[in-house]
Amino acid sequence: MLQALFGLFDGIFNGISIGAVLLIAALGLAIIFGLMGVINLAHGELMMLGAYTTYVVQLAFRPLGEPLFSLYIFVAVVAAFIVAALVGLALERGVIRYLYGRPLETLLATWGVSLILRQFVRSVSGAMAISIAVFCLLFFGALWVLRKRSDWASMQKKAIAILLPLSLAIAGGSGFLLNQVPILARLWFSTRNVDVTAPAWLRGGIPFGISQLPYTRLFIIALTVLCLIGIYWFLNRSVWGLRIRSVTQNRDMSACLGIPTAQVDALTFALGSGLAGVAGCAVSLLGSVGPNLGTNYIVDSFMVVVVGGVGKLVGSIVAALVIGTLNYLIGSGTIAIILGGSGVEFLQPLVGFFTFFATASMAKVMVFVLIIAFLQVRPAGLFPQKGRSVEA
């Protein structure tokens, strides 16, 4: 009996720690979706960038020696946030702002971005980075110069049509030439997975009954809680948070009242992307880091958003914890074991049923069925936004 209890506790702890990862991955998604109605399919790739940033920071700290090296994770969290936020900002300014009001197209465009990011990590080298820098310098520099002319509006299309292929050709040519230099041609990450070694103080765990609670899991839970507090404070106590909330509730009215909605959008997107970077940093402690890291988490975090609803943060929290716990309890067979051990006669047929679903992939099948069933009762999620619009 005590063992079953420990098993249950173990299950719940593991569930919560899976839920914490889901939550930290889904937080940014939920904020962006709530504000702009945009589903960012590149969210997983932003996580992947965060994880790679962690890897790079770790490499940079290695020569510093032991006492400092153990602290790299704190620098990595901040760096991952900044890198992902910058990429997110570029994504919003470059692509997504042209697509507001067309959510399905945004979905496709962000998928394109995610493909590019994935391949970028695989094939980035010194030569490629330089040629991208050359392209940005030429193209955006020329645009910046031309924009000062008074007849800019009339020549805009023509200028872009000439500049874009020209700078692409120059950048491509220089990239090809630089690729002949062996040092510059070396791939930074290549297609192989890399490993992030957790700092010494995160290895091991607290012994508990038959199992132990790993420190890395506890660290992720702590990080998630910290992010939640930070986001909560930002959204509810700061000026920009107030603006974000007001735009979420009614975009047109906020614009009428003088809130710069375009800036709010950019800021929110950067914030959500930054959170994805932090999530990537957390995830890099759990397993190896590869270009496809994001795809493992992305669908589950979508489900968190769907179940949680977009109105409140608390919806995402509850949804992530419930989905994480259910996934673990079903997938590890804990439910089947408990039912089997309970000795109650009429529950025995259920044991076979739950044993059938007791693998990680089959648990997803069952959780999806439960989600669909849940949506029959509450189609707009746990905490829907209340309103009188016909769309709601």
Partner: protein
């Protein structure tokens, strides 16, 4: 007056009939060229590639039906595609002497055929299952989602999640369906011939052309009448459709199921032509790619869906043969360009701007009967351009 309009209506009906006849003639002509002349030109390898692309064009038609016309973006069409493929592959796997079971079963210690394999001994049942099985799954999923007025991106995400779930299920069940390895069809027998042999592959090529033509005709019929207008109405303003007394849910479920059935046909054809069906057909990326074929060709234009599917896949096989790493960059850029610059797709662009642009180039731009001063005033023209957008 009344006589006038009646005459006009009759005339417009006649001209529409003529147009339809011309279109049917073109379609049949193209199909005949594909069936008779193209095999003489292309090598066997290219011909099977073309046949595969045409079966992918069939699923693109199905996607066009729900996305282009009805505005439902499904990211889970791989499910229906794979279900159709599995249905046919199961029949082919069972073409073995009486009392035996397919050779992968003993590897997992299975000695008896699982119950759901039994009906696939019969060929007619399999043919029906290829269409009806995906339709049932699509209809069920559609009903559960649409009846709660879940739509837009929510629907897209849910279809994607369903895709992942089906992938996991098929991937994990070795004892039922051979898991990751999938079902091979190239070495199986169909009516006494090996499926992988050139002669059978050629007849599949002809069948693909026939089915593509039939699917096109079916979609054309479906979208041109009242039903098609209703689909477009649902896409443009679902609430107004509902307030006008229609029930959008049932129409959406129906069209989603039809689209699933079409995907099933395509999957079955694709399976026998590529020689295997595996859970990889339910890869997330593959299902989103199907959408981009339609987007490249042109949404809500059926020809566009077919051309887009063939063109993108041809580009893919060209590029990934030579520079595999460039293909993903190219594909990503394709998504961005189509969405940002060319939202109507190639065919859509040709129909609207393309013709005008061509006229302008050749120097006979369309003349409008307005005041000359309006035509000459640049600022007015600019305003009109903006208004037209």
């Amino acid at each position: 007056m009344a006589v006038d309009t009646a005459l006009g209506r009759q005339r417009s009906r006649r001209s529409r009939k003529n147009k339809l006849l011309i279109e049917a003639g073109i379609v049949v002509g193209v199909a005949l060229i594909l069936a008779v002349i193209v095999p003489l030109i292309l090598s066997d390898f290219r011909l099977t590639l073309l046949a595969r692309f045409m079966s992918l064009a069939i699923v693109a038609l199905g996607i066009d039906l729900i996305w282009g016309f009805t505005g439902l973006l499904s990211l889970g069409h791989g499910i229906f595609f794979a279900l159709g493929g599995y249905a046919l592959a199961m029949y082919l796997q069972l073409q073995i002497p009486e009392g035996q079971i397919p050779d992968f079963f003993p590897l997992y210690g299975v000695t008896e055929l699982p119950w759901f394999w039994e009906p696939f001994h019969s060929f007619p049942f399999t043919l029906v299952a290829i269409v009806v099985l995906p339709m049932i799954v699509a209809g069920l999923l559609g009903y559960l989602v649409f009846r709660n007025r879940i739509r837009g991106v929510y629907f897209s995400i849910l279809t994607q999640a369903a895709l992942v779930v089906f992938f996991n299920f098929f991937n994990g069940q070795q004892k039922l369906i051979n898991g990751t390895n999938g079902l091979k069809t190239s070495t199986t027998m169909l009516f006494g011939n090996q499926v992988g042999s050139p002669s059978v592959q050629f007849s599949f090529y002809l069948i693909t052309i026939l089915l593509l033509t039939l699917t096109y005709a079916f979609c054309r019929w479906l979208t041109s009448g009242r039903f098609g207008r209703l689909l477009v109405a649902i896409r443009d303003d679902e609430n107004r459709v509902r307030f006008s007394g229609y029930d959008p849910t049932s129409f959406k479920v129906l069209v989603f199921a039809i689209s699933g059935g079409i995907a099933g046909i395509a999957g079955a054809l694709y399976t026998v032509q590529s020689g295997i069906v595996s859970p990889q057909y339910m890869d997330i990326a593959f299902s989103i790619e199907m959408v981009i074929w339609v987007a490249v060709g042109g949404r809500a234009t059926l020809v566009g869906a077919i051309l887009g599917a063939i063109a993108v896949n041809y580009a893919r096989s060209l590029l990934s043969e030579q520079f595999p790493e460039v293909w993903l960059f190219f594909q990503g850029a394709l998504f961005l360009i189509v969405v940002l610059v060319l939202p109507a797709g190639i065919v859509g662009w040709l129909r609207t701007d393309g013709i005008d642009g061509f006229r302008r180039l050749t120097g006979n731009s369309r003349t409008l009967s307005t005041f000359p001063s309006v035509e000459l005033d640049e600022s007015l023209q600019k305003e009109r351009e903006i208004a037209e957008k």
